[in-house]
Symmetry: C2
Subunit: 477 residues, 2 copies
């Protein structure tokens, strides 16, 4: 059943890690580079990133944010101004020690994140409450010196956006933190067809330097969790450390309240690991850079003219489509469209056409449908794209629900994580030692404390003491 | 005449360099950062860059190019594979020597440009003529350890796009080199309203490692030239150095022909230095992120409703507009619109409105026009935007023509450059020593050899020997 392009993809249920890298390679999403731990994002992968950028960017702008560009390099003394952030990031930054073949007086680190730079900028550019809020974002590259790397999921350099805002009041900043989390969560649901969950990180898992961190967590096909986006509330920590002082409405000096939030090319990894299969990439139509491929079978003039007719009509409807008129065999073209995750394929063949039929194939289920040419094919395609988007979400949701376990017993917790991991709901007393204990189960970490009143018992799953907090736990990438 | 926002702008004719940095600051385009030689591109500056990106990116895509992302860091041995490139760039790169607080076995440089990375990628991803051409581009940051820096014109880190293509034949690659030059040149003419000139660089001034370099050169208000974009033809130099071998149509191993081309945030500097004035930024409408500002004078309900009506109508026409309804004085708002370079201002005042009039103000000439409210104001604004775009180009062209001199005598050359510099057309024998000699005149360099048969004499302006080549010379940024 498999053609050249996808026959080299490992079976997903046999070796998930190899399957993942096989799909990345076969769909030409990324390639390893000779810069250790860094990837080349190839055209197919980058086009997905551009689609993600354009959707998110317009949502950021609709909510009043503007884009800026901060420097790539951070002087060491600037990085060291906020203690917790340094502790969190210092072990994983890259240092520039010479420039223009001269040794530098002060080392510069390549930004692992830009709280320091934004804070420093705000400090010299905000002086009055009239300057607030500042709602800034940047799309850029960052670098973290990871030991183990994997395309999109964890690489030394990655692309992301980082929003950084400062506000007059705590309430406003907290509302921003939550509102950006919701933008991310909606993006996962509405575009990526990923039924992510949201909540608050525990103290141990929050971002270095944040007062608290909200997170979007997704569950991959193999039951491993992926932190997919975060939104941090800093209170006045950074504004005090970096001396972002301003004159408030009472004409007194005050420090603004700060947030930051980010998502990265890691989302491409999530897309693959939630939706793709043994035939290659499967993309939700709303995020697919190309939604429809038209494959003429043979060089018959009638076939080619119908193909062009469909292409024109699809384009007029704003549906990204293309004709595969390469000199490859039809079988090759079908497999190519599959491995690259084109959501809908239109096959136009001579015999079919004699019966006034064409074939529509949906990528997600690989289901074939014969359709009469005298019906409104474009309308059919539109409906099909919507169906695929909805069905992909529903399947992912069903899977997530099947893989979400409610546990009141530590042994059961262990059994689940060792046999068929997923999200585990269990009560927690709030003690960091109990959290540490759970880490012994295949490195399981708290994913988040969901925004819910759900209680499944009144005892901590580890120590048995009184517990008010429901935590969702999981193995993580 | 000047208000708070623009009163701190130095007179352009008194001190051009200070005027430039004053405009950058007053229009909130960029700000100095605490990372030496690197700037923060602020929202107003970044919005111009986004506009440039979106126009150019669609032109690249229309011509078959796709975007990718290459690593930021280049291992030293990879950089050193092509000798001339290394010689050109090694003195101005920044070196990463430790990562995660461990000393690295091999230094990594921050990309000053990415020929090496693209070539390395092509080497492992191209094997047959069927894989050609590759028409790649990336939007990214690069770093060059400049000693003297200036916002947008020359900074250690800057943003740019770099296209990198490989082709089966010399002819195809050379056509690409020229075609990308034309895309740049048209962009300067049609959008930036800058009458740039194009041509070939001399051997001395070409890109390190290129067989030849085409260039877009613009003339600033003060007569100084700015290299504004380049397109390089590499022949097989890099493909041989990096071993990009492929099987050609005769089933023999061959090396592809390569190009690269780029423009950067330096274009923002060009926009400022060609068009702006003592009142701040002046932007050609086609590149202005916000084209129209509506300023209601007073809080009269009729005024506000008319302002909203205009805003809706402009938006419907796809014209980016906004209402300035801050609590500032009208005078402050007018000056604010001026300093920020909003091409058209609509003032709606009570007294005017009683006479069924409003006022339109064009930023470029600061001319005021009273218009009856019962005419089609939106149509008037559209025409005005077109007029401004055309007039700005025409004025810049006239200035360039006035500042372009034809010279056959070295003394005259010197007099011009010392009193009122500009583009100087003079004949050149082709000898590098003569070129070097001209550099003694205030550092004047050859800008380009234009694509023309024009000959103004048959003698080299320096040595008096036979000369076939017309060169355009200039002082440069």
């Amino acid at each position: 059943m498999k053609d050249k392009q996808n026959k080299e993809i490992t079976n997903r249920d046999v070796d998930f890690a190899r399957w993942y890298t096989d799909v990345v390679k076969a769909a030409h999403l990324a390639s390893y580079s000779n810069t250790k731990g860094c990837i080349v994002i190839e055209p197919n992968g980058y086009a997905i990133w551009e689609k993600m950028q354009s959707i998110l960017d317009s949502k950021f702008k609709e909510t009043g944010h503007v884009n800026v560009s901060m420097p790539l390099l951070i002087p060491e003394n600037l990085l060291r101004k906020e203690g917790e952030l340094v502790k969190g990031f210092a072990p994983e930054v890259a240092w520039v020690t010479s420039g223009g073949d001269k040794k530098l007086d002060e080392r510069l680190c390549i930004r692992p994140t830009s709280e320091t730079l934004f804070s420093d900028y705000f400090a010299s550019n905000v002086s009055s409450y009239r300057d607030l809020p500042k709602l800034y974002n940047q799309w850029c590259n960052v670098l973290r010196w990871e030991k183990e790397t994997r395309p999109f999921l964890r690489s030394r350099e990655f692309l992301w956006q980082e929003g950084h805002t400062i506000h007059e009041t705590k309430e406003e900043a907290e509302a921003e933190t939550l509102s950006m989390l919701n933008i991310y969560n909606n993006f996962f649901h509405d575009y990526l067809a990923i039924p992510s969950i949201v909540g608050k990180k525990t103290e141990k898992e929050k971002f270095a330097g944040a007062e608290y961190t909200y997170t979007v967590e997704s569950l991959m096909y193999n039951g491993v969790a992926l932190q997919s986006g975060t939104s941090h509330y800093f209170g006045q920590k950074f504004s005090k450390a970096y001396d972002i002082k301003y004159l408030n409405r009472e004409n007194k000096f005050d420090y603004p309240y700060q947030t930051s939030w980010g998502v990265s090319t890691r989302m491409i990894g999530a897309l693959i690991m939630v939706h793709s299969d043994d035939y290659g990439l499967v993309l939700p139509p709303k995020i697919a850079p190309k939604k429809v491929v038209i494959i003429p079978i043979g060089n018959d003039l009638e076939i080619l003219s119908l193909a062009n007719d469909y292409l024109d009509k699809l384009k007029k409807e704003g549906i990204e489509a293309y004709i595969d008129n390469s000199d490859k065999s039809p079988g090759y073209k079908f497999a190519d469209a599959e491995v690259n995750g084109i959501p809908v394929r239109i096959e136009i063949g001579k015999r079919d056409l004699e019966n006034n039929m064409i074939t529509l194939v949906r990528r997600d289920t690989r289901e074939k449908m014969q359709v009469f040419t005298n019906t409104d094919i474009i309308h059919d395609v539109k409906i099909l794209l919507e169906d695929i988007q909805r069905d992909m979400y529903d399947r992912a949701l069903r899977r997530r629900e099947e893989m979400t376990y409610t546990v009141t017993d530590l042994e059961e917790f262990e059994t689940i994580m060792n046999s068929h991991p997923g999200f585990v709901k269990a009560m927690w007393c709030g003690n960091a030692e109990c959290e540490e204990k759970i880490k012994e189960i295949r490195g399981t970490k708290s994913r988040c404390i969901p925004f819910t009143d759900e209680k499944i018992s009144d005892k901590c799953v580890v120590c048995g003491k009184k517990a008010d907090t429901l935590v969702i736990w999981g193995i993580q990438y």
